[in-house]
Symmetry: C2
Subunit: 334 residues, 2 copies
Amino acid sequence: MRIAVDAMGGDYAPDAVIEGAVLAARENQLEILLVGPQDVIEERLKNYDLENSKIEIIPASQVVQMDEPAADAIRHKRDSSIAISARLLKNKEADAMISAGNTAAVYATARLFLGKLKGVSRPALAMVFPNVIDSTIVIDVGANAGGCRAEDLLHFALMGEIYAREIIGKENPRVGLLSVGEEKSKGSALTLEAYSLMEDYPINFIGNIEGSDVVSGKTDVLVCDGFVGNVILKLVEGMGEVIYKLVKEEISQSFLAKIGFLLASPTLRKLGKKIDYEEYGGAPLLGINGVCLIGHGKSSPNAIKSAIRAASESVSHKVNERIEQSLQNIKQGN
Amino acid sequence: MRIAVDAMGGDYAPDAVIEGAVLAARENQLEILLVGPQDVIEERLKNYDLENSKIEIIPASQVVQMDEPAADAIRHKRDSSIAISARLLKNKEADAMISAGNTAAVYATARLFLGKLKGVSRPALAMVFPNVIDSTIVIDVGANAGGCRAEDLLHFALMGEIYAREIIGKENPRVGLLSVGEEKSKGSALTLEAYSLMEDYPINFIGNIEGSDVVSGKTDVLVCDGFVGNVILKLVEGMGEVIYKLVKEEISQSFLAKIGFLLASPTLRKLGKKIDYEEYGGAPLLGINGVCLIGHGKSSPNAIKSAIRAASESVSHKVNERIEQSLQNIKQGN
């Protein structure tokens, strides 16, 4: 299996990406296509023992900046590492692509080059959040911020359910619809309509759930429109940063507290692991005609390795074929 | 000044509410009207020294349950402590009311009995969230979950700005519009339209802000529709509970960690204070023709006391008059 990896995507690229790619190639027997400036990548690869690792460099002369408008990137950077990765996928020279770069640019490029899966109304970005028990997939976290229809939410539900089953390993994933109260009657015009659609389909639909259920463990898949999902994504990240900052500030002010935290630190590390995004490896862009994962901008080598693993599993578990089949079944009223 | 307090509202009612009311009466020289079953309240008041405190009991024979549908409460419980409190306000026998009870029932009752302020398109529930620096008011956190218009968001902005200035004490409050990116072009149809309305008015509008800015300290007022605001409210609460639970579980498993946390505990308490909702005292229902605050369901005596203080300050700072004036100015194009 060949995975195209955008070597230039992410705040710590290319170093963290290249290291993650090397780790993945070693452990998973995958063929990695590192996409980016040949000289830059070659230079970095010299630091690693690549025996038994299949890593190939695919040259790309341009880099899309993290804050560059997606439209500009598409128009003016046809030779960017993102565009070349997508083209590899389109031409069947790669089975999947991952990028920790500019999310909007990756989405727009994938949409343009690869198109949608058959039957999908809108692709969506799914994010795996840790919860108190294991994890919850929130879909959509921002591919569609401009306004979703009820049918879109139904498709998000079906796509999220398949990903939860095939990649996260949940047997009969519970699917909840994000609303403002648990009662069926609570919600916006959009969620009320989506509710009736979702209860008619053969998924384990548990009804309306609330904001707290992003982390409560009550659902395996949480369906929402991309505007709300994007707010959730950024709020959870923001709160994590704030709590970290507050703890650090307070600790630096007290000697006793410092000792206390040192003694407690194995516990804190264990705790940290529970809310560590690294192991979940990136956000799958579901509904695109090709396996495409977007890594967090701050991806570490391990996060890149996990994203590559999730991408390869999406290929081997035929996630996209299953999505098409599921939507085909909907259409036929099964 | 006379404040009507729903003695039966909240998970720890009537004890926590009555204690909070006694504290407020002692400290703030307010006249408190405790609304609820006379015998229950009388019995509890015996525990306190009420010299120099002005506390009166206003009988109400019914109690609205926390999970009771608002429509049922209004139809079948005309003598509930919530309904009687609102009636006191309507008849000018009280200057403000507070309840830590069923939010939907309090909102519906206030809306029915008191109506809207002149010029307000929709009332909104505002919540003061702690941030890394001080606090951010999020408006609306759920009074309008069924779909807001751009004009509503503009009104939320003006009402939140006045509350931030008069009650929270910010001099020139920054007002941000919640969206999915900072650029003016980012957002939903609703936020794009609201953006153009908001930039035309004489408030300190700082443009689009993101989910992380609920806690980043970047804005004093964060404007959003009630669906998104409600998700934010419940997610922040849910994350708080999860972090608390995780820390507690981990600590109970390790002796060294226990010692560590004991040593660090003054620090943890200090930290806890920063993210303690008690001092902000309840969520003001802005745009209602009467000062009405809704306390958190888990309100402690101190939280009730703070809510009573915020209610009395809303009266003395003429928050409602200022809102009407501000909306009048809008209408006249000032």
